[in-house]
Structures are given as C-alpha cells and as structure tokens.
Amino acid sequence: MIKVEGLTRAYGSFIAVDNISFECRPGTVTGFLGPNGAGKTTTMRVMVGLTPATHGEVTIGGLHYPQIPNPGRHVGVLLDASAQHAGRTGREVLEIGARTMGLPSSRVDEMLDLVSLDTKESKRRVGNYSLGMRQRLGIAHALLGDPSVMILDEPANGLDPAGIRWMRGLLKGYADRGGTVLLSSHLLHEVEQIADEMILIGNGKIVASGTRDELLSQASGGATTTLVTGLDNQQLSEALAQKGFQVHPAGAGLRVTAEPVDVGRVAADQQIVLTDLRAGNEGGLEDLFLELTADTAREDVGQTATPGLPG
C-alpha cells in the first residue's frame, strides 16, 4: 500500500535518508524504529509531500500523495501533535479538518469521543493541552476522514501507559479491518507489541527489517537461546555443557544456546530444581536494535568528524 522506492533525501552534504526501500501492506501495522535523527520523520514527511525527495519516490496505493484527491479521506496523517495553532480550541482544530474534507460536524463529536477528550477539554485551547492530549487530538485528526492508510510519527510520545495500551488496541483493530498503519518510534517496546513488521533505521539507512520472529532469529545469529536459573547453577551448567550446549553465566542464571525444552529436560534428568526458565531472545531484539543503530551512529561520528573541521 505504502511503497518507498530508493528514497534519498539530502540536505546539502548531509544525507538524512539514504536510498531506502520498503513496503507497508494492508491489514498490517508496520513499526518504523530508529533513534532520534535516524531519518524516520524525514521519510514520513516525504510520504505526504511536505518534503521533496532528492531521489526515489513514495507511492500510496500507486499514487503520489499530491495525486490523491481529498487526501484526508484516504490517508490519516499525524506528523507532529504540537503543530497546531495554540490559540485554537481542540474542537476547532477538528472542525477545520472536517470542513476541509467535507465531513459533517457530527464526525468531530465521534472522534472526540473515540479519543476520550470530553466536551470541556475540547473547548480548551490547544496551547493549554498536555502533550498526551495533543497526541490524542492528533490521532482524532488523523482518523477524521476514516482513511484506509495511517502515517503516524511517534504517536505514543507523551501518552500515559493506559493511553499507549488504548492506542495499541485502536491501531490493531484498525489493521484488522484492512487498514495500513505505519507508525514510528524510538522506543522498541512501544512498537514490538503492536507491529506485525518492523523496519529498523539508523543514520538514514535501513539496518534490519522483518517480523518480530525474523528479527529475533537474526538477533541471536539464528540460534535459539534460553535463560535458566536453578538452585544449583554450577551443577546445571556442567550437565548442560556435557550435552554439548554452550553455557554462559548471565545475571543470576545461565544463558544456554538451546531450546527451553532441552534445558528443562536436562534439569529434570539431573533432578535440579529450576526457579526460572524462559526463551532468552527477549532481550535480543533490544540488543540488536541498539547494536545496529549504535554501529551506524559510530560510523556517523567517524564520517562527519573529519570533513566538519575546515571552515
């Protein structure tokens, strides 16, 4: 649905987005992950025509954004929840959107309801809103035209935990209805529970992409690891090593290159009481994320330090 092909955006000699390509399919939530300044926002801005691409292109349903008639009815966009006139009320912000798209005022009430902004709050000026309220208003604005594609930049930013859970449910339900969602975040845990696919970006380049499981197997180099803690770790470690598994101490327990079931079997055979047994790749995704993006960040430092000096 959203197709990014060979997209590059350069600012002078600085390359914000470097030849990236990916696709977001209908019925899925795609998480766009990367540290601050990785190029997520620039990519999203190119998607909706606010920033011209230096090379490459983005199409939505086969169309360039400016070719989409009344785009608010097809693509819901939230790029910056704070980019609203501080002197306008929340309700008025939605009213303007609804009127531009040719929607009745009743739609404004529906959306305010949906994002749980009550009548009193909706009559306050946006300048007095908390970031979380602005974010809710922004999501309401993106949903106004009942679009089939959503492009959301850091939508969870500023939301409280309950708000994040609410948004997760909302977007999940939206994707289940056949919608296409692209949402960005710099926080892995915000995205990993909701995204069907993840795209990791660092320093303008895509460093990894795929489903959560695909990324996980990549994170551990294809091998499954297990975290285990027993009453006698020493004995457990020896027994596991004897079976040919690689064992390393990890925190209060052990990290084993094996399936949890195999580790459990060894423990049962040896009659070692286990206090904790779980798949060990959970932290792997985060490690991968940090590792991949840190790598590009280091390269970045190395590359810009030298040409940065003359002047």
């Binding site: 910056d80 008025e92 303007i96 798209m101 089939s148």
Partner: protein, 264 residues
C-alpha cells in the same frame, strides 16, 4: 466509527472543492484569539475614530459630508487590514499549521489562492461596514447638530477606497508570503508604508530627478491619488509600476518560496 472493511479506493473521491477551502480560510481568520481580537480591534478603532471625529466636528461647528466621515474611518481600516493579510499566511508557519493544511490540500497554490479570496471577501465586508458606519455617523451628525445632512457624490471615492483596501491587504499578504514570519512581515509592512515615505519625501524635495522618479517607485505615493480621487492615465501607470515593485515581486517570490519550501 464504522466497522466496515477499509480499502484504498480513490475513484469516487473528488478533490477538495475550492469553495470549501475559501470557507475554511475565512473561518481560520476569526477562530483564534489573535484573529478574533484583530477583527474586533479594527471595528472598535474605526468606531473610536468616528466618535472622535464627531466630537471635533460638533465642538468646532464644522459642516462635514459623508465623504469626510469616510476619510476618517479609512485610516484604521487601511492600517490594520494589511496586518490581517500578513497573519493570514505567516500564522501557518509560525504556528506550524501549514503541515496539516498542506497535507489536507497538497496543492499549496490552491490554498494560497483560497487565502487570497478569503481576504478579498473580508475586504468587501470591511468596506461595506466602513461605508455603513460612515453613513451612520453622517445621519447622527444631522441629528446632533440639526444641520442638513450632506451626502455628496461618493461613488468614485467608494470604489477607490475599496481598491485601497484590496491593495493594502494584498501588500500585507505579499510581504507575509515573502518572509513567512509574522513579526518580520508586519514590521516590514509598517516600515514600508509609514517610515519609507519620509526619506522618499526628503529625497524628492532635495533632488528634482528623484521627484520625477518617485511616483514610479513609491507605491504609497502612487496610491495617494486613489484616496484623493484624482486617478488618471499617468497615475494608473505609476500605480502599476510601483505596485509591481512592492506587491508583484514580493508576492511572486513569496509564492515561489511557499511552493518550494519544506514545510516544518
């Protein structure tokens, strides 16, 4: 929200109707505190000027006609309407609403055109209100003084005032588009319309060649005959030439900039 399946199908959607854009832009002129108060101040100041004028006239036993009241109310309108012109475009940038505006209507020139039309409509409304207030003042003068109310022939003057409003609002809009920054737009507009005339006048008084050139390059000076009602062939040529310098060029460059710039 409806529970129907979502699919991307643009075949039955029409582009945003231009009339809708104009109505939205008109709404945006008045739906913020700043905008609302600017409109209220324009009307309030116009009323104030008329009240003062009335007091002076009655106190000194002068004999005004409708034209005199029109000249009076022309001042606050002419000063403040251009500010609205500046803000109409710059607030999209200073408040960063351009991001939303241009994602809902990606054709930036359509949005700009809608803004221009909305300002034109506002100029008409301001002009009608101004004429009506002037007429009301004239009637009140008759009632207060007991003298005969003089209406005189104001048709041409009314048209020229209208032109004056449109030009000053357009100048404000052009400078707003050029700078895309509210303070810069407003300050430059006021410098250009109130400060610049001084060196222009001094230059014209000291150098005869500059005196000849001045009407061609001083837009404010070239507009003077509009207010005085003494427009003729040469004056129109002056207006056109100086207008190109002060209105045409900034507007053209501003539009080019709006179309090309990255909206943040």
């Amino acid at each position: 929200m409806t529970a129907t399946a979502l699919s991307f199908d643009v075949s039955s959607t029409h582009r945003v109707a231009f009339g809708r854009l104009v109505r939205v832009e008109l709404r945006k002129l008045a739906d913020t505190r700043a905008g609302r108060w600017l409109l209220i101040s324009i009307v309030a100041l116009t009323l104030l000027v008329l009240v003062i004028q009335m007091a002076v006239i009655l106190g000194n036993d002068l004999h005004p006609s409708w034209v005199d009241f029109l000249i009076g109310m022309n001042t606050p309108m002419g000063v403040l309407l251009p500010v609205l012109g500046v803000l109409s475009i710059t607030s999209e940038w200073s408040q960063r609403t351009a991001m939303v505006t241009f994602t809902l209507e990606p054709s930036r020139m359509r949005v700009v055109l809608a803004k221009m039309v909305s300002l034109l409509i506002l100029a008409v409304v301001a002009w009608v209100i101004g004429m009506a207030l002037g007429a009301l003042a004239n009637v009140l003068y008759g009632a207060f003084s007991g003298n005969t109310v003089v209406w005189g022939s104001v048709g041409k003057l009314m048209f020229l005032y209208f032109l004056n409003y449109v030009i000053s609002m357009a100048s404000g809009f052009a400078l707003g588009a050029l700078f895309l920054n509210s303070p810069a737009g407003i300050v430059v507009y006021f410098v250009y319309s109130f400060v610049l005339p001084v060196p222009f006048a001094i230059g014209a008084a000291l150098m005869s060649w500059f005196d000849d050139v001045r009407p061609w390059i001083d837009f404010g000076f070239a507009q003077q005959p509009l207010t005085d009602g003494t427009m003729a062939g040469t004056e129109w040529a002056h207006l056109l030439t100086s207008g190109l310098i002060w209105l045409g060029l900034p507007l053209a460059f501003g539009l080019w900039r709006i179309n090309r710039t990255e909206v943040k």
